[in-house]
């Protein structure tokens, strides 16, 4: 039996009302060629909050995240339907300048992927290609400090970024993102390749960064979502999709506190209590 989509979308209720909305998705669907990857997602990303996207593998968390900075453009055949509003612009429209958008909405990836260049160049490159006019040394230092990495690397800025440990590399990637002064930072399972200590450092960093940035994080780690985020969206595979394709839907979107203490959707409850997924 196909559950009525509309009730699912609104089952979580609206986000905390005091926050300004930065990104707003309305009935956003994503197609890869002829297969529907994400069905009619409606959710609002609040400003200066951490919003986490949780759910089992293949349910479209990363796909949704990559809509926000148009990274899906790199995949041939990917297209969006519905609306996705950011700063008064609909990101689903083909006229959007994706290059300019990606400076404003930065991204940190699952596997640390520093450039095979020096630590300094890793941070400076993004700023330079975006035409940064200011004092570069100062920007590099500020970005590395903000990413809580400065003290560990200040004496070896000319060493390769690849010589750092995994956790340091990931913070270098965060510093690199901060250097282009984005408004939103998207994080795609940023800690899944890190040990618990490095993970804790990145989580502390996120908590610190949310004063100035809006963060959206995809995570498989439910404890991480619970610890770090203010809002949580739970995605699931759509049982109704019987045509062999795996279609993701948002089954619940609410404050993290409510999601983990009093989930409204039975599938969310089953997922967060570890019975499925």
């Amino acid at each position: 039996m196909k559950p009525p989509v509309a009730t699912l979308i609104h089952s979580g209720g609206p986000p905390a009302p005091e926050a300004k909305i930065v990104i707003s998705a309305k009935r956003l669907s994503v197609w890869y060629g002829s297969s529907l990857a994400l069905r009619e997602v409606t959710l609002d990303i609040p400003c200066n909050r951490i919003t986490s996207l949780i759910g089992p593998s293949g349910c479209g968390k990363s796909t949704l995240l990559r809509c926000f900075n148009r990274m899906n453009d790199l995949i041939p055949g990917a297209r969006m339907e519905g609306t996705l509003e950011f700063d008064g612009e609909d990101l689903t429209s083909p006229g959007v300048d994706a290059v300019a958008l990606r400076r404003r909405i930065g991204m940190v990836f699952q596997k640390p992927n520093p450039f095979p260049k020096s630590i300094y160049q890793n941070v400076a490159w993004g700023a330079r290609i975006n035409g940064y006019k200011g004092e570069m040394d100062e920007l590099v230092e500020r970005s590395l400090r903000r990413a809580a990495l400065w003290d560990e690397v200040k004496s070896k800025l000319n060493k390769s970024g690849l010589d750092l440990s995994g956790g340091q590399q990931q913070r270098l990637c965060i510093a690199r993102t901060l250097a282009v002064e984005p408004e939103v930072i998207l994080m795609d399972e940023p800690c899944s390749a890190l040990d618990p200590i490095s993970t804790a450092r990145v989580e502390d960093l996120m908590e610190d960064l949310k004063k100035d940035y809006t963060i959206v994080i995809v995570t498989h780690n439910m404890q991480q979502a619970r610890r770090t985020s203010d809002m949580t969206a739970c995605l699931m595979l759509d049982d109704a999709a019987k045509d062999g394709h795996r279609t993701g839907i948002v089954v619940e979107f609410s404050t993290t506190a409510r999601m983990f203490t009093n989930p409204q959707d039975p599938r969310t409850e089953a997922y967060i209590t570890g019975r499925i997924g």
């Binding site: 290059v99 400076r103 095979p116 993004g126």
Partner: protein
């Protein structure tokens, strides 16, 4: 619970299994040795041919032989062509080949790398791209003589349109050789571009880089060792080619060093061929000496390729 398997269910064939590995290894070693042995025999026979005439008959004095050989090769380098084996040399051919090398490098690298970058980084997947790919792969297998005929008809004669025909000049020869090695360069460059991890491209794109900025600052620098290695190997092939050059009338009887790209020329392999055709036995020595010069040039180029690969290919990648 299923019953545990008893040992009688297994037939270990220990001896056979233990022997199979070493036998396979020995066969592989044999296959490797074939290549090495052939090269050694080839070099040995060429050396023997040169030393028989060029140096003293006294085989006990190895040092004298080496000295004699190198001074003989030096003479070959400084002499032009001649009908007298005593004063015959490869000066015109060596300079012709170096001119060809330089010009082919200038033509083939930009075009080949450009085509590969387009195919890997820009071309949308589809019929057209597939068609181009198959075409390039097939072109790499076309015999070099066919390129010679193309070069003759197109560059040398311009299908009879004399105003634009290049004639049997270095222009025509180097353009023909460039066409010959273009597919190899395209394929090698594409392989090199494919080794650049996508995570690197994504990292750059996510910072707001344009495609050109990603290619210029990340993709090309990361793939330069692979591109250079493949390109240098392709260039060595061009330098060793004889058939297409004979076809585009790189004359075997050119008595001077080319003065510019519009000049007539000869090339080292062409001169070797024309000396080897001579009936006098002494010319065989001259030809063998030319082969040594050509081999020295090719081995130098291949060594440069290896050095580049080792120097730049080492850094960690993800």
């Amino acid at each position: 619970m299923s019953t545990p398997a008893t040992s009688s269910m297994y037939e270990p064939k220990r001896l056979g299994r233990r022997l199979a590995g070493p036998i396979f290894g020995a066969l592989c070693l044999f296959a490797t040795l074939i290549g090495v042995v052939v090269l050694a025999v080839l070099l040995g026979s060429v050396f023997a041919l040169v030393t028989r005439y060029a140096t003293s008959e006294n085989w006990s004095s190895w040092l004298a032989n080496v000295g004699g050989l190198s001074s003989y090769l030096g003479n070959l380098l400084s002499r032009l062509q001649s009908s007298d084996p005593e004063s015959a040399g490869f000066r015109a051919g060596v300079f012709g080949s170096l001119w060809l090398l330089g010009m082919v490098t200038l033509f083939s690298i930009p075009v080949g790398v450009g085509a590969a970058v387009y195919l890997e980084e820009y071309a949308p997947a589809g019929r057209l791209k597939q068609l181009i790919q198959i075409n390039i792969a097939n072109l790499a297998g076309v015999p070099s003589i066919v390129y010679g005929i193309l070069g003759l008809a197109f560059f040398v004669r311009a299908f009879g349109w004399e105003k634009v025909a290049l004639g049997p000049t270095l222009w025509a020869g180097s353009l023909t050789l460039s066409l010959l090695i273009l597919p190899t360069i395209v394929i090698a460059t594409r392989e090199a571009l494919r080794t650049v991890p996508n995570s690197l491209r994504q990292a750059a794109v996510a910072l707001g880089a344009t495609r050109w900025q990603v290619i210029r600052d990340h993709v090309l620098p990361s793939s330069i060792p692979g591109i250079l290695t493949g390109t240098i190997l392709a260039l060595s092939r061009a330098i060793g080619e004889t058939a297409p050059l004979l076809m585009v009338e790189a004359a075997g009887s050119i008595l001077r060093v080319p003065r510019g790209p519009g000049d007539r020329y000869t090339a080292l392999p062409v001169e070797i061929y024309s000396y080897a055709k001579q009936p006098e036995a002494e010319f065989q020595t001259v030809a063998a000496g030319g082969i040594l010069l050509l081999l020295a040039l090719l081995l130098t180029m291949n060594s440069i390729a290896i050095v580049i690969r080792n120097r730049y290919g080492r850094g960690p990648r993800n």
